[in-house]
Amino acid sequence: MSATTTAGGRVREFVSAAADGWTRERFGVLGALGLILLAFGPSFQVYLFTDFLVVALFALGFNLLYGYTGLLSFGHGLFYAGGAYGVAIVLRDLGPVFADIVGSGISPLLTFVVGGVVGLALVVGVAVPVGWLSVRLEEIYFALITLAFGMLGYSLIIQDPAGLTNGTDGIIVLLGSVDIGGSSFRIGARRTYYALSVVVVLAATYGAWRVVNSPFGTVCKAIRESPDRASALGIDVRHHRWMTFILSAAIVGIAGVLRAGLAGVASPGLTHWSTSAIAVIATVIGGATYFSGPIVGAFVFLYIRWAISRFPTLEAYWELFFGALLIAVVLYFKQGTVGGLLLLRDRLLGDDGDGGETDAGGDGEAPDGDGDSGGAGATVPDDETRTDRGDDS
């Protein structure tokens, strides 16, 4: 008995010592180092991690509407596809035009950037009316109307309107290579594209983090907690939801642009409900109430899927594993992976009543859930914990 307590004590001592050293600056440096190191890793791992980054951004944009504002969309694939098709169409139709104007050396990069901007504009253009109509409804009705819009997009793309979308085959995305001053590189090369994705995803994530911590984001959270109360305080709830919808769609659109380049194709499946469901699943697995929830969820989703694919006999049933995982999360870890990890941290630090001096994050969330840490993650964390996790990922 005493042996186990001293062992337990040592573990706690070690963990809290480690946690003490876990400052934001060190975390940032370590993260950056990890990202750089990964660029020299095996090619497939680079690809898998890029895939994770894109899905993480997809889920993050989705969660701005779900976890932060309380609206569950089942049609965000529409905006994922919007970004992808926007960039794909520009690359296909305007590539030669740009090559004529600026010369073929730099034009592939310029076309990709312009395509990205066009994709984003297209997404916003679609999100404005779709959001306006959707936010008139709440809860299950909101989920259903967004689902319908997503599938409407799917049917439209398959119809190949004006020869724009190339029907069920989708549009092949050729990123080409850039020649500047004798040196040349392919944008679509795995490591190059990885670097590009890291920059874009980090920037978009920082932007989203600023949004959720802004006055705008604070009002979003209030609406999630009680729409009636918010409107009784003079907040135009419907308008605010609409604005959040557009912002959320725009972030998903950026992810869609990156997806087109990574997959090398913009295909109608991107706006199918099963793609929209990926954002939902990743967010639920990670924990919708945390900023980092969708990111962690995307990581778990993609890496478990990869691990399953190592066993060819199991691969045919990979969805079964996610079904089981989802049931486990929903039943026992309502706060998702992030909630579970925070609980584990509190346990390891022996954080039961002695205050939170060991919390090195410096984000002042010390007194969270001390009294109810036995709740197996099913308890609601305080809001500081929810939002301040942001920069930890």
Binding site: E225, S226, A232, G234, I235
Partner: protein, 257 residues
């Protein structure tokens, strides 16, 4: 002595049932008005009409207009427009932002009042003037000590105080309190009553209260309006109204304790 809130022949019908039946009332800014009545008298429906949650079948609602000193028609306004026009409310069943801290709750209301809700670039807690306002309000309502506590861990009485802080944060002309002492223990009742008195003395807001606790009603009211079956049964000073035979009858008749 100015009228801050006025209704004219306000009527609300749910199918065959007339919940509010031609209520005309003028609320003066110099007094605390209580609206009382037996269960089902139409108090909550009346509040919901005033705050734009329900649309009246007929009649009109007027609220003091800041610019002219006259009255503005808010009959067709939506809840958020009513709130922006200067009518604030607290709820009978506590309705605060449970997952947020007390400070964040008040911050939301201040952001709404300052009309910075669409600002997505600055930090929510980065505005020093706004934070000072929040601090002041927390002090006024005695919430400073629990400012950083999440609302879902507060006691019932504390949540009711947060309700009041929220409603006041938008600097209303008129503050409708729906049963501020509902579900409170006697100590909490005493505290909230003295808080209401204090706030009424300190602030420009005009208080309108619905209440079941008759001790509280007689204690704080300058004027009592009795609703019964959707219509005004009696209206006057506490002494007059409580000695009115029709009032006693209405209470004993329909409550049938």
């Amino acid at each position: 002595m100015t009228t801050v809130l006025k209704t004219e022949d306000l009527r609300k019908q749910f199918g065959e049932l007339t919940a509010v039946d031609g209520v005309s009332i003028e609320i003066d800014d110099s007094e605390i008005t209580s609206i009382i009545g037996p269960n089902g008298a139409g108090k909550t429906t009346f509040y919901n009409l005033l705050t734009g949650v329900l649309q009246p079948t007929s009649g009109s609602i007027w609220l003091r207009d800041d610019g002219e000193g006259g009255l503005a028609d808010i009959t067709d306004a939506e809840p958020h427009e009513v709130a922006q026009a200067g009518l604030s409310r607290s709820y009978q069943i506590t309705n605060v932002f449970e997952g947020l801290t007390v400070r964040e709750n008040v911050r939301v209301a201040r952001i709404s009042h300052e009309k910075t809700r669409l600002d997505f670039r600055s930090r929510a807690s980065g505005d020093a003037a706004l934070e000072a306002d929040i601090e002041e309000l927390l002090e006024l309502t005695g919430l400073t000590d629990i400012a950083d506590t999440s609302c879902d861990t507060l006691s019932h009485g504390e949540k009711r105080t947060v309700e009041i802080a929220l409603a006041l944060a938008i600097e209303p002309d008129v503050f409708l309190m729906d049963e501020p002492t509902a579900g409170m223990n006697p100590t909490e009742v005493t505290e909230i009553v003295s808080l209401i008195r204090e706030l009424d003395a300190d602030l420009d807001a005009t208080f309108v209260v619905t209440e079941h606790n008759m001790d509280v009603v007689t204690d704080i009211s300058d004027r009592i309006v009795v609703l019964a079956e959707g219509a005004i049964l009696a209206d006057g000073t506490p002494e007059d109204v409580l000695n009115d035979e029709r009032v006693t009858e209405a209470y004993l008749g329909s409550d049938s304790v």
